[in-house]
């Protein structure tokens, strides 16, 4: 009667595909959230900046998802992967799927996520997967800009007005439960790291925390570190309640026209 849960880790190209899928889904879902800012930002320059950052993330997602389809032998396109997978098949961390909050929340998320991506892509420059290394070469410059942008804003908000200081501090606390997941050594990343194609997330932790910590200090803010709970499971397709609605919106038109070209 009994059945042990399936914990098989793929090998070879399938492993590489699974690894690219995680990175691609992070970028795709974050692009989706960033796109929501366009026409809703605090000033027009910021509509443009967040649009730019979203476009960069979307570009990374497209390259990575295309690579997934090449590697896993399924022949799926970037669109098949983005539009025709169900929630349980998405492999992004829960941080990126959280609903758009206020601007401080977005800057807290962006500072952490871009700092994480900066270390990640820097490490992937030497990946044995040439496509992944090429993606990393392009992305590493993009995310440096994202990190810089978030840094500037965290400084302005932290060291701006009383209200902005409070909001920025609250935002740092709001993203806190979602950070541990970024640095979890999931089975796929570990195997990819061992195969010389990926990076063990835990190895990125200290550099990212040091970087973010320095910004937070300079911004006269406090890095919170005590969370009653933490998110888990994004890498195995367990998502938070916001994810289903995000996917419904993203996929609805494509799903409504099976087989159509756009």
């Amino acid at each position: 009667m009994g059945r042990a849960p399936d914990t098989t880790v793929p090998e070879g190209d399938s492993l590489a595909a699974a690894y690219c899928l995680q990175l691609g889904d992070d970028a795709l879902i974050y692009a989706q959230r960033l796109g929501e800012w366009i026409s809703r930002a605090p000033q027009i320059e910021e509509d443009m900046a967040l649009g730019n950052i979203g476009l960069d993330q979307l570009g990374q997602a497209r390259a990575l998802l295309t690579r997934v389809g090449e590697l896993d032998g399924s022949g799926r396109t970037e669109d098949d992967l983005a539009y025709l997978r169900d929630e349980r098949e998405f492999r992004n961390v829960q941080l990126v799927e959280q609903p758009r909050g206020d601007f401080a929340f977005e800057m807290a998320r962006l500072l952490w996520f871009s700092s994480y991506q900066a270390e990640l892509y820097a490490a992937l420059l030497t990946s044995e997967d040439e496509v992944l290394s090429a993606v990393a070469h392009k992305a590493v410059k993009e995310v440096a800009y994202h990190r810089d942008h978030a840094t500037q804003w965290v400084l302005r908000l932290g060291d701006g007005t009383l209200e902005s200081h409070d909001r920025m501090q609250t935002a740092l606390e709001a993203v806190l439960p979602y950070l541990a997941e970024l640095f979890d050594d999931d089975a796929v990343s570990l195997a990819a790291a061992e195969a010389g194609r990926g990076v063990a997330p835990s190895g990125l932790h200290d550099a990212v925390v040091a970087r973010v910590g320095a910004v937070v200090d300079e911004a006269t803010l406090t890095l919170p570190n005590d969370s009653r709970w933490r998110s888990r499971g994004g890498r195995t397709g367990a998502h938070s309640s916001a994810m289903g609605h995000l996917l419904a919106d993203m996929q609805h038109i494509a799903r409504s026209h099976p087989g159509a070209q756009w």
């Binding site: 795709l28 692009a31 989706q32 796109g35 929501e36 366009i38 026409s39 809703r40 930002a41 605090p42 000033q43 027009i44 320059e45 910021e46 509509d47 443009m48 649009g51 730019n52 979203g54 476009l55 979307l58 570009g59 997602a61 497209r62 998802l65 970037e78 669109d79 983005a82 539009y83 206020d102 601007f103 400084l155 302005r156 908000l157 060291d159 701006g160 007005t161 209200e163 902005s164 909001r167 919106d249 993203m250 609805h252 038109i253 494509a254 026209h257 087989g259 159509a260 070209q261 756009w262």
Partner: protein
């Protein structure tokens, strides 16, 4: 009798001579008050249209049915933000500032193009906006690249270049839909049906109204080198260019009177329901209230961010001063 603004010369031989010589007026040149006011109003309205125009298409970013189209759309809406910025900057060279103009937009004292009060009901509308709305905008804007006011003309050169790119992308969306499934074709046709007449209205009222009468706004703007063609001329030009494009797309246009007139060498078209235009301009369009609410909400929700940025900039400046002292 006192001289009118146009007759008055601020510096003998200067403004009128430049206009007569088709030279550009630059921010530091003297210029008649009415010229300045007309330009501020027109550039501001144009900038507002770019900013409000982000909404109907922006609503489809989250739902774009392919990642390629999503990327193109995000870039396009972002371009519109950029156009808004160039244009607000051009207006600022005339001695107003952006926050003042935004305030006028938010309180209804300045307008934006009424076309953006129509809803985007399907993905095909993103295509139709690119093809028809950007197409009509370009027709209106290309002559502005030769506008007498330098900063406006230069902004328009950049804008037009990007708009024509957007127009082609819109056409391509509809091209793909029109050759797609039956449902996709119907979607494209439906979008053409709904956007055709509003696009024609973008050229403004016919040249028989008050504004076009001798001594009216149109004549003045033409004399000043701000306007170069009449509304009806531009509209005809748009129809002449667009009808063959519709044929290429395989879409019909919702006007039973549309036919080639060999004699005129132009396409004849039916009567435009300007009552609808005025109704929408006056506020009773499907999305007027929504567009301004959306815009004001974003602005209000961002107030604390802008304040923080200012406060921080002041602190940084103060610290720099201290360091020097």
């Amino acid at each position: 009798m006192l001289p009118t603004a146009t007759q008055r010369r601020t510096q003998p031989g200067s403004f009128d001579d430049l206009i007569a010589a088709e030279q550009r007026i630059e921010p530091r040149d003297a210029m008649p008050d009415d010229y300045r006011k007309t330009l501020i109003r027109q550039i501001a309205q144009h900038a507002h249209s770019e900013i409000i125009g982000m909404q109907p298409e922006g609503a489809w970013i989250s739902r774009a049915p392919s990642l390629r189209r999503k990327a193109i759309l995000m870039a396009k809406v972002q371009d519109e933000a950029g156009h808004g910025l160039y244009l607000y900057s051009a207006a600022e060279t005339l001695g107003v500032d952006r926050s003042e103009l935004l305030d006028k937009l938010h309180t209804g004292r300045q307008k934006y193009s009424s076309i953006f009060n129509y809803p985007t009901l399907t993905w095909a509308d993103v295509g139709a906006i690119g093809w028809l709305v950007d197409g009509a905008a370009i027709m209106n804007q290309v002559p502005l690249c030769r506008c007498s006011y330098g900063p406006y003309a230069r902004a328009m050169i950049r804008v037009c270049k990007e708009e024509s790119f957007h127009q082609r992308q819109g056409f391509e969306i509809l091209w793909t839909l029109a050759r797609g499934t039956e449902k996709q074709h119907a979607m494209a046709q439906d979008a053409a049906d709904r956007w055709w007449w509003p696009a024609l209205m973008m050229f403004g009222p016919p040249d028989t109204g008050d504004a076009a009468a001798p001594g009216g706004h149109t004549e003045q703007s033409m004399a000043w080198g701000i306007k170069r063609f009449s509304n009806d001329d531009l509209r005809q030009k748009f129809v002449d260019i667009t009808v063959p494009q519709a044929q290429k797309l395989g879409l019909t246009l919702p006007d039973p009177d549309l036919r080639w007139n060999d004699e005129r060498g132009h396409w004849d078209f039916g009567e435009i329901d300007f009552d609808e235009l005025w109704r929408v301009v006056k506020g009773d369009g499907p999305c007027n209230a929504e567009r301004i609410e959306h815009r004001v909400r974003a602005h209000d929700e961002g107030a604390w961010v802008r304040e923080a940025a200012n406060a921080y900039a002041d602190k940084v400046a103060a610290r720099a001063k201290e360091a020097v002292a």
